[in-house]
C-alpha cells in the first residue's frame, strides 16, 4: 500500500500563496536578525550583565585562559601538499649506493624514512662485498647529521658564497698557472672514473705541465704496489681470492679489519670456515699486535715487526725445501719455528690453493712474499693476474716530494681533496710549514680540520649520502653512489667544484652519466638503451662485467727476489729499545671517523676499551716497568712516555696479552683537533659532569694522541712500525673505559664451547657439545637427566605454536668485528653514554661481543698438579701472556622461554610474547632493576640518566644534537630515564615484516625479517628467523649438532642458540 503522500509545511505552501512563493526564494527568513545587527554594539548598553556576573565571567575567562596556556607546546608537522611518489610516511625507502672513504669500500643500501637516511646495510645482491660491511661504514650515516660540518664555503676564515669563492679561486688558479708555478692536487685514492675524468679536465684547463695530481693515503699500501713493481714490473695490487684459499698465511695483514679490499676478502674467507663442509681453510697469522685478524687465526704466532722479513724468508725456505727449490740465507734465531714449519707444511700441502699475504709496506718483504706465492702456484689461483685492485693508490714518495716542493716554494696552489695531511703525514709539521708558503690553498673538507683550517679557501664537500659518484674498485666492478637526501647545508660536491673551475657547466650527475655513456659498451651493456644500463646500475648500486684482461704476467723477477732477500736477511735486527707497531683500530680507522660517537663508543674488539688509544704492551713487559696490569672502573692505567727518535707522546699503557714482548702497539687516528679545530663534537675529552676538558690555552683536549709522526719513512715509503722506542713511566695514571674488565672464561664451558676440527670431525656430539645432565632421584635411584627434561614449571607449549623468533650465532664464523654493535646502535636508538659512564660499567650496548682469552691454568691441570682450588681460580683469571687463543661471543638478550627476568618484575613490565620474544614495556617499567640482576646473561641495560637531555651527555649523545637527532629511527622509542631496556630482536622489524606478509596475504617467509645485527654481520654468523618454521635457516642451525644454549643448566631455555667454535688446528 505504498502511497506518495505529500506533506506540506503549512497552509501557505498548500495553497501556494504569493507571499509564500516570494519567501521561499530567500534562504533566510526576512525578519531573522542579521549578523551585523547581532554583533552590533547597539544593545550593549542594555546588557543585563551585572557586576557579579561580570566577575563570574572574568573568573571563568582567566581560568579558561590559564588552562589553555597549560597545553603542551605544539610541534607542527607539516603534511605534504603533494605526496612524493617514493615517500610514504612510515614506510622506509631503500637506495642502493656505495661507500668509499679510502679505507673501506662497499656497496650499501641506505634506508631512508620520510626523506632522511637513517640506516646503512650491506647490499647483499650486488657489489663485490656481497653485503659485508664494517662498523665504520654503517656508522657513517651519523656523520651526515654532524652539526659541526661547515655550512657554507669559507674564504680566508669568513663564510662566503659559492659564486664569490669560485670567482676568486679561478682567478687565483689562472694566475698561478700563468706564473708557471705548479698547481698540486693532493687527493685520497680516487677510484671514481668520472672524478678522474673531471680532474683530467681540470688538468687540461690549467695546463698539463702545471698541474700535478698526487694520491695520498693516510695509511698507505704503497709498499705493496712497489713490491709488485719489483716482482712483476707493474705497480699494482692484484685481486686476492680468499674463497679459493685452503691455507692462508698472513704476516701482519689485518685483512678482517682494514687491509685493502677487506669487505671483499671477509665473505670470501668465511665461505671456507664452515666445519660442516668438506674442508675448512687454515689460517696462520704472524704478527706483533693482537689484531682482529690474528684473534681469529687458527694459529697465531707473535713476532717482532722487524722479524717479518725473516719469517717470510723462513717460510719461503721451508716451502722451497719441500719443492726442491733453492733457499735464501736467513737466520731463524728467535723466530717461532714451530708455527713456521706448520704453516709451511700446510702451504705446501695446499699449493695452488694457498695464499700468503703481508701487511707491511716494506717492498722487499712484498717481493719475497710474491716469490713465495709464485712458488706455491698462487698466481692464477688465489691471486688473480687478470684483475687489479684499485684501492690504496697513495704514492708516498710523491707525497713526500710534494711537501719538500711546497717548502721550496715551487707550488703555487694546493688543492686538498679527501685527505688530511696536516694531521696524518709523518712530517705533518713540515707539511703545515710548506702550506703556509703556498699562495693558494683550497680544501674540500667538510670540517675546518687540521688541513682545511690552514687553507685559504674551504669549499666544503657534500657528505657522501648527499652525493653522486661512481666507482671502479677493481677490474670488472663498477658501482654508483646516489644522494639519499638533499643537501643539509650550503655545501657543494667536490667534483662539482672541480668541474666549475674547469669551466664545465654540467652538473656532476650529468657528467657521470656522460662518462658512463661513453663506456657503456665496454661495461657490457646488453641493452641497446643506455638508460636501461644506467637505471639498472643505479637501482642495483653496482655492476659487474667480465673484463678479461691480463693485468700482469706472473713471472717473478728472480734478481729482485735475490736482492730483496739479502736486504731482509741483513736488516731486521732491531736496535735497542722497543719496536712500535702503528695500527688502525676497528672503530675510528685512520682518524676520519674520530668524531663519530658510535665508533668512539664501539669497544675495541680485542681490548674492549672505548674512547681512547693507548700503548698496548705485553703484560710481562708491563710488569717489569711496574705498570698497572689491570684496568677497571677505579683501576686506571699507568701513563708512560714513549719516545721514537725526536717524537714523544704520553699515553696510558695497557697490558695486552698476545702483544709480542719487546714491542708495543699504538693505534693511529687519535689526537684529532689538537689545535682546537672544530672537527666534531665527539673527538674531544669530556669532563665527568659534562663539558669539555680544556688545556691551559683554552683548547679542547683531543681523545688520545696522534702517533702518525712516529710512522717510519724508509726509502720514500711509509712503514707503519718503528723501532728504538724508549718507554719510561711518568708516574701518573689515566682512567680507562672498557666494557669488559675480566678477560678469561674461568673454564665455564657451558657459556662458550670450542673444539678443534679434528675432534669435531671424528667424534660424536657428546664429546664436543655434551648435553647437560643433572642427577635426580627417580624411583629410589639416581638418574641422569637432560636439563631440558626437568622443569618445575607448567610451561606454555612453544614448539609449533605460531611464530617463535629465534637466533643462531655461529662462534666459528663470528670474528668479533663489531659491525653488529653499531648496526644495533643505529637501528635501536641506543644511547651513547661517553667515556666516564662506560668506565663506570654502564655502556648501553644491547648487543655486546664478549672476548675471552685462554688462560694457562685450568681445573683439570690444577687437579693433576695438586694446586688448591682458590689458587687455581685466581690463576685462571690471568690470561696467557704471550699467545692466548681468543674467542668472540656476541651476547644479547637470549629471549628465554623461561625468562628469569620476567618472573621478578613487580609490575609485569617485561613479559613474554606469544611469539617467543621477551618484550620490554618501557611505559610500564618502574626501574627496580631486579630483572637485570636476575639475568644470567647480564644483557639488560638501565637508563641511569636522562641521556637525551642530561648535561653530562651533551657532547657525546647524538640525541642531544638538533641535527644528529635526525638519525634516530622513528620506529623505536627513545627511552626515558629510569627504565630498563635491552635487545628486542628488532621487534619493529618483525612487526613490519608480518604486516608486509599480511598485506600480501601470504605467510612470513624465511629471510624476509632480519634483525639489524644479522643484517650487518659480514660473515653471516648471526641467523635470525622463526624456529617454528621447520624449514627455516635458523631452525636448521638450531638443530645442528654444534648448536647449544648458553648456560643451559640454568634452565632459562633461550631462543638464542650458539654453535660451537671450531678451530682448524
Amino acid at each position: 500500500m505504498a502511497s506518495n503522500k505529500k506533506y506540506w509545511v503549512g497552509l501557505e505552501e498548500l495553497h501556494g500563496t504569493p507571499g509564500f512563493q516570494e519567501a521561499s526564494k530567500n534562504e533566510f527568513a526576512p525578519d531573522s536578525v542579521s549578523v551585523d545587527e547581532f554583533l552590533g554594539e547597539g544593545n550593549l548598553g542594555e546588557s543585563s550583565t551585572n557586576r557579579r556576573d561580570f566577575l563570574k565571567f572574568l573568573g571563568f575567562g582567566v581560568t579558561a585562559a590559564t588552562i589553555a596556556a597549560c597545553e603542551t607546546p605544539v610541534i607542527k608537522s607539516i603534511p605534504y601538499v603533494n605526496k612524493p611518489e617514493s615517500i610514504t610516511p612510515g614506510v622506509p625507502t631503500y637506495y642502493a649506493s656505495t661507500f668509499f672513504d679510502g679505507t673501506d669500500y662497499g656497496s650499501i643500501l641506505v634506508k631512508t624514512r620520510e626523506g632522511r637516511p637513517i640506516f646503512i646495510k650491506g647490499n647483499k645482491k650486488h657489489g663485490l662485498n656481497k653485503g659485508s660491511l664494517t662498523a665504520r661504514m654503517n656508522s657513517s650515516v651519523l656523520s651526515l647529521y654532524d652539526g659541526t660540518r661547515l655550512k657554507a664555503p669559507v674564504a680566508e676564515g669568513k663564510e662566503t658564497t659559492w659564486a664569490e669563492i669560485d670567482k676568486s679561486i679561478t682567478s687565483e688558479l689562472t694566475t698561478v698557472s700563468g706564473n708557471g708555478k705548479t698547481i698540486a692536487l693532493l687527493t685520497g685514492t680516487i677510484i671514481s672514473p668520472s672524478t678522474r675524468q673531471a680532474i683530467n679536465a681540470f688538468v687540461l684547463k690549467y695546463g698539463e705541465g702545471n698541474v700535478k695530481v698526487i694520491a695520498y693515503d693516510a695509511v698507505s699500501a704503497y709498499g705493496i704496489r712497489k713490491g709488485n713493481e719489483l716482482s712483476f714490473g707493474k705497480a699494482m695490487i692484484p685481486d686476492y681470492n680468499f674463497a679459493k684459499a685452503k691455507t692462508i698465511v698472513s704476516i701482519s695483514a689485518d685483512f678482517m679489519n682494514s687491509w685493502l679490499l677487506n669487505t671483499q676478502y671477509l665473505p670470501d674467507y668465511l665461505k671456507n670456515r664452515n666445519p660442516d663442509a668438506d674442508w675448512m681453510s687454515k689460517h696462520f697469522q704472524f704478527e706483533s699486535t693482537l689484531s682482529l685478524t690474528g684473534s681469529n687465526a687458527d694459529h697465531r704466532a707473535a713476532i717482532l715487526p722487524s722479524q717479518e722479513g725473516a719469517v717470510a724468508l723462513a717460510l719461503y725456505n721451508e716451502v722451497a725445501k719441500k719443492l726442491g727449490a733453492s733457499a735464501y740465507n736467513v737466520s731463524t734465531d728467535g723466530l717461532p719455528i714451530e708455527a713456521i714449519t706448520k704453516a709451511a707444511e700446510s702451504l705446501y700441502a695446499n699449493r695452488g690453493a694457498a695464499l700468503v699475504i703481508a701487511g707491511c709496506n716494506d717492498p722487499n718483504l712484498q717481493v719475497v712474499v710474491n716469490a713465495l706465492n709464485s712458488l706455491l702456484d698462487s698466481y692464477g689461483n688465489t691471486i688473480s693476474n687478470n684483475a687489479e685492485t684499485f684501492v690504496k693508490q697513495g704514492n708516498d714518495t710523491d707525497v713526500l716530494a710534494l711537501v719538500s716542493d711546497m717548502n721550496a716554494g715551487k707550488i703555487g696552489a694546493l688543492i686538498v681533496y679527501g685527505v688530511n695531511p696536516a694531521y696524518s703525514l709523518p712530517n705533518a709539521e713540515g707539511f703545515a710549514e710548506g702550506l703556509a708558503k703556498v699562495g693558494t690553498t683550497i680544501s674540500f673538507s667538510s670540517w675546518a680540520d687540521e688541513t682545511a683550517s690552514r687553507c685559504k679557501f674551504i669549499c666544503p664537500d657534500n657528505h657522501y649520502l648527499e652525493s653522486w659518484n661512481d666507482y671502479y674498485p677493481k677490474t670488472g666492478h663498477y658501482a654508483l653512489a646516489q644522494p639519499t637526501i638533499g643537501k643539509l647545508y650550503d655545501t657543494r660536491q667536490a667534483q662539482d667544484s672541480i668541474l666549475t673551475w674547469s669551466g664545465i657547466e654540467s652538473s656532476y650527475h650529468e657528467y657521470i652519466k656522460g662518462v658512463w655513456q661513453k663506456y657503456a659498451t665496454s661495461m657490457g651493456s646488453e641493452s641497446l638503451l643506455f638508460d636501461d644500463l644506467w637505471n639498472n646500475a643505479l637501482r642495483n648500486g653496482a655492476l659487474s662485467v667480465n673484463e678479461s684482461t691480463i693485468v700482469f704476467e706472473a713471472l717473478i723477477n728472480a734478481e729482485n727476489v735475490q736482492s730483496a732477500a739479502s736486504i731482509l736477511a741483513a736488516g731486521g735486527a732491531s736496535s735497542d729499545g722497543y719496536e712500535v707497531v702503528l695500527y688502525t683500530k676497528v672503530g675510528i680507522g685512520d682518524g676520519t671517523h674520530a668524531t663519530n660517537p658510535w665508533l668512539q663508543e664501539l669497544p675495541d674488539p680485542i681490548s674492549k676499551i672505548t674512547w681512547d688509544n693507548y700503548i698496548a704492551m705485553n703484560p710481562a713487559d708491563a710488569e717489569q716497568f711496574g705498570f698497572n696490569l689491570h684496568y677497571g672502573q677505579e683501576l686506571p692505567a699507568s701513563m708512560a712516555r714513549i719516545t721514537v727518535g725526536d717524537k714523544s707522546v704520553e699515553l696510558p699503557v695497557i697490558a695486552q696479552p698476545g702483544q709480542k714482548r719487546g714491542s708495543v702497539s699504538i693505534a693511529l687516528g687519535y689526537g684529532r683537533g689538537a689545535n682546537g679545530e672544530n672537527i666534531g663534537r665527539a673527538a674531544f675529552r669530556t669532563k665527568n659532569y659534562g663539558g669539555y676538558e680544556l688545556d691551559s690555552t683554552g683548547n679542547r683536549i683531543p681523545i688520545g694522541k696522534n702517533v702518525y709522526p712516529m710512522v717510519e719513512v724508509k726509502d720514500g715509503v711509509m712503514i707503519y712500525h718503528n723501532h728504538g722506542a724508549a718507554i719510561e713511566a711518568i708516574g701518573a695514571t689515566f682512567p680507562i673505559a672498557a666494557t669488559q674488565t675480566h678477560h678469561t672464561l674461568m673454564g665455564r664451558d657451558s657459556v662458550l664451547r670450542e673444539t678443534t676440527l679434528a675432534v669435531f670431525k671424528s667424534s660424536p656430539r657428546s664429546v664436543y657439545n655434551p648435553q647437560h645432565l643433572l642427577a635426580i632421584h627417580e624411583g629410589g635411584e639416581i638418574v641422569k637427566k637432560d636439563v631440558n627434561e626437568i622443569d618445575i614449571w607448567n610451561a606454555h607449549p612453544v614448539e609449533g605454536v605460531g611464530h617463535r623468533w629465534g637466533m643462531s650465532i655461529d662462534l666459528t664464523t663470528c670474528i668479533g668485528c663489531g659491525a653488529c654493535i653499531t648496526s644495533c646502535h643505529s637501528e635501536n636508538n641506543v644511547p651513547v653514554v661517553g667515556k666516564d659512564e662506560v668506565r663506570r660499567g654502564r655502556d648501553m650496548h644491547w648487543l655486546r661481543i664478549d672476548r675471552y682469552y685462554s688462560s694457562e691454568q685450568n681445573m683439570e691441570k690444577a687437579e693433576k698438579e695438586g694446586t688448591g682450588v682458590i689458587t687455581a681460580y685466581r690463576e685462571m683469571e690471568v690470561p696467557e701472556y704471550d699467545n692466548p687463543s681468543t674467542v668472540h661471543m656476541p651476547m644479547m638478550c637470549q629471549h628465554c622461554n623461561h625468562a628469569p627476568c620476567e618472573t621478578v618484575c613487580p609490575v609485569a613490565a617485561t613479559t613474554h610474547s606469544n611469539e617467543g620474544l621477551n618484550q620490554m614495556t618501557y611505559n610500564r617499567c618502574i626501574g627496580t632493576r631486579y630483572c637485570a640482576n636476575n639475568c644470567p646473561y647480564k644483557v639488560r641495560r638501565f637508563n641511569w640518566f636522562n641521556y637525551k637531555a642530561y648535561g653530562k651527555f651533551g657532547e657525546v649523545n647524538p640525541a642531544q644534537d638538533e641535527m644528529a637527532r635526525m638519525v634516530l629511527n622513528p620506529d623505536v622509542t627513545v627511552r626515558a630515564r629510569g627504565v630498563m631496556e635491552k635487545c628486542s630482536m628488532c621487534v619493529q622489524r618483525i612487526q613490519g615484516g608480518k604486516l608486509a606478509a599480511k598485506i600480501k596475504g601470504e605467510p612470513v617467509s624465511d629471510g624476509n625479517i632480519i634483525t639489524a645485527c644479522a643484517e650487518a654481520c659480514p660473515t653471516e654468523a648471526i641467523t635470525f628467523g622463526d624456529l617454528n618454521d621447520v624449514k627455516s635457516k635458523v631452525r636448521t642451525h638450531a638443530d645442528n649438532d654444534r648448536s647449544y644454549h648458553a648456560l643451559d643448566e640454568v634452565g632459562a631455555k633461550p631462543n638464542v642458540s650458539y654453535k660451537v667454535k671450531v678451530r682448524n688446528v
Binding site: V751, T903, A932, K938
Partner: protein, 457 residues
C-alpha cells in the same frame, strides 16, 4: 596481683613506687630538654638534611648518581633496605613474641624497641622507593584498579610480596605500638598543666579513663595484635629473603635464606636495641628500669641468633661445595677469597666471632663491652647484606660482565642520612613520648611488702 619469687631479682630496681615510675618516665616530657638533647638533635637533624638533599639529587638526576652498574644493579640501596628491615625485627619480637611467652622483662624495653621498629621500617621502606628508576610511578606496585588497560601487578614477583609484607608489618607494628601508648598518653594528659599540650595528649589518648573495662580491652587487643604480629616477625624477613632466594643468581638462590634472614634480623635488631637503650638509660637515668639483667637477656638472644647465623654461613659454604655446581661453589670461593673478601671477613668476624664473647658473663654484663659489641654486630650485619648482594652479583654467570661496585658520595650520603633521620625520630620520641611503658611497668613493680607502699603514688 603479680607475685614475684623471692629469689629472683626484681625487674625494677631502686625501690621504686608507682609514683616514682610515673615521674621518672614523664619528667623528661614535662621538663625542659637538656642541652645535650638539643646538641644531638641538631647534629642528627643536619645529617638528615644532608641525606634528604642526596635523595633529592638522586630523584632529580637519576639512579646513575649511585655507583651501580650494568652488572651490579643493587648495592647499598637494597643492603640498607634489608639492614633496616632487619633492625626493625627486634621491636616486634620483644613486644609480641615475648608478650605471648609472658616474658615480663620485656616491659622495660618494649616501648622504645617498638619505636625503633617503626622508625627502622620507615627507613627501610624509603629504599625500595628511591631505588626505583621512576619513583613517580611507584604506586604501580599496588594492585589498584586503573585506567591503563587491564594492567595488574605481577604476583609472581618477590618484590611485590615485599610491598605487601612491609606495608602489613608497618601497619601492624604501628597499631600495636600506638595501642600500648594510649594509657601512657592518658597519664601524661592527666599531668599536663599547659592546656595546649593537655589537649594534644588528650586527643592522642583517645579518651582513656583507666577503667577496668578499658584495661581488659587493652589487654585483649594487645594479645590479638601480638598474635598477629608474631607471624609477621617471621614472614617479613622470610619474604625479604625471597627477593634473593627465588632468583637464579648463585649466592642468592638458596633455600636456607628465610630462617637465616629471620635470625639475622633478630640478631641485628637486638644489637640496635642495645645500642639505643644503653645510651638512653644513661642519659635519661633509667638504670633502675633497664637493668643489667635486661641487657644480659638481650645479650643471650644475641648469642643464640648470632650462632644460628654463624651456622647458616657455614651451611651455605658446605652446600656450595656439596652441590657440585661450579657457579655456586665459585660464588662462595669468590666471597671469601675474591676482591670482596675483606667484606666477607668483616662479616664473619663481627657476626660469628664477636657475639661468642657473650658466653663470658663478665662481658655480657659489662655495659661498655655490650655497647661496643652491639655496634660491631650492626656493622657485621650491614656487611652480611652487602656480601650477599654485591659479591653475588659482581661475579655471576658470564665472566665478561664481571665488575666491581664502588659507592659514590650519594650512596654514602643517603645511608648516613637515614641513620640521621632514624636518630632524629628517636630523639623526638624520647622527648615527647613515654619511653617506657609506664603503666605496664607498674604491673611488674614489686609491691608485696610494706616498704613499697608509699603514701602518694
Amino acid at each position: 596481683m603479680h607475685k614475684e619469687a623471692a629469689i629472683r631479682q626484681p625487674l625494677i630496681l631502686g625501690n621504686k613506687s608507682y609514683h616514682d615510675i610515673t615521674v621518672d618516665v614523664i619528667s623528661p616530657i614535662e621538663n625542659k630538654a637538656p642541652r645535650a638533647w638539643y646538641v644531638l638533635i641538631t647534629i642528627t637533624g643536619l645529617i638528615s638534611l644532608w641525606g634528604l638533599g642526596c635523595i633529592t639529587y638522586l630523584i632529580s638526576t637519576g639512579i646513575g648518581v649511585w655507583g651501580l652498574n650494568k652488572t651490579v644493579g643493587w648495592a647499598w640501596d637494597i643492603t640498607n633496605f634489608v639492614w633496616w628491615v632487619g633492625i626493625g625485627h627486634a621491636g616486634t619480637l620483644i613486644s609480641a613474641v615475648l608478650l605471648l611467652f609472658r616474658q615480663k622483662w620485656r616491659m622495660a624495653i618494649n616501648r622504645s624497641a617498638e619505636a625503633m621498629t617503626i622508625f627502622a621500617v620507615m627507613m627501610a621502606a624509603l629504599f625500595p622507593g628511591i631505588h626505583m628508576g621512576r619513583i613517580w610511578v611507584a604506586y604501580w606496585v599496588l594492585p589498584l584498579p586503573n585506567t591503563f588497560g587491564s594492567l595488574w601487578v605481577n604476583f609472581n614477583s618477590p618484590l611485590l610480596w615485599d610491598v605487601f609484607a612491609i606495608s602489613t608489618y608497618f601497619t601492624v607494628s604501628l597499631v600495636f605500638w600506638y595501642i600500648g601508648l594510649i594509657p601512657d598518653f592518658a597519664t601524661i594528659r592527666d599531668r599536663m598543666t599547659n592546656p595546649l599540650t593537655k589537649k594534644i595528649y588528650g586527643l592522642l589518648s583517645f579518651g582513656w579513663s583507666g577503667r577496668a573495662k578499658h584495661w581488659t580491652r587493652f589487654e585483649e587487643v594487645s594479645l590479638v595484635l601480638a598474635g598477629l604480629a608474631t607471624p609477621l616477625v617471621f614472614s617479613v624477613h622470610s619474604i625479604v629473603s625471597m627477593d634473593f632466594a627465588t632468583s637464579v643468581i648463585p649466592g642468592w638462590h638458596t633455600t636456607i635464606f628465610p630462617p637465616y634472614f629471620v635470625s639475622g634480623a633478630v640478631f641485628s635488631g637486638f644489637a640496635m636495641v642495645l645500642t639505643l637503650l644503653l645510651i638512653m638509660r644513661k642519659v635519661m637515668k633509667l638504670e633502675n628500669y633497664i637493668t643489667i639483667k635486661h641487657i644480659e637477656y638481650m645479650n643471650i638472644v644475641i648469642i643464640v641468633t648470632g650462632s644460628i647465623v654463624g651456622v647458616a654461613y657455614l651451611t651455605e659454604l658446605f652446600i656450595s661445595w656439596y652441590s657440585g655446581v661450579e657457579y655456586e661453589s665459585y660464588a662462595f670461593i669468590n666471597r671469601f677469597s675474591g676482591p670482596y673478601a675483606w667484606s666477607y671477613w668483616i662479616m664473619m668476624t663481627c657476626n660469628v666471632i664477636s657475639p661468642q664473647l657473650f658466653w663470658f658473663k663478665k662481658i655480657r654484663t659489662n655495659l661498655t663491652a655490650t655497647f661496643i659489641l652491639s655496634i660491631v654486630v650492626n656493622i657485621g650485619m650491614w656487611f652480611e647484606r652487602f656480601v650477599i648482594i654485591v659479591t653475588s652479583l659482581h661475579r655471576d654467570y658470564v665472566p665478561s660482565s664481571w665488575s666491581m661496585f664502588y659507592p659514590t658520595w650519594v650512596d654514602i650520603g643517603i645511608f648516613l642520612g637515614t641513620i640521621g633521620i632514624f636518630f632524629t625520630l628517636f630523639l623526638l620520641f624520647a622527648r615527647f613520648f613515654p619511653v617506657l611503658a609506664l603503666n605496664e611497668l607498674k604491673t611488674i613493680l614489686k609491691v608485696s611488702g610494706e616498704k613499697y607502699k608509699k603514701e602518694d603514688h
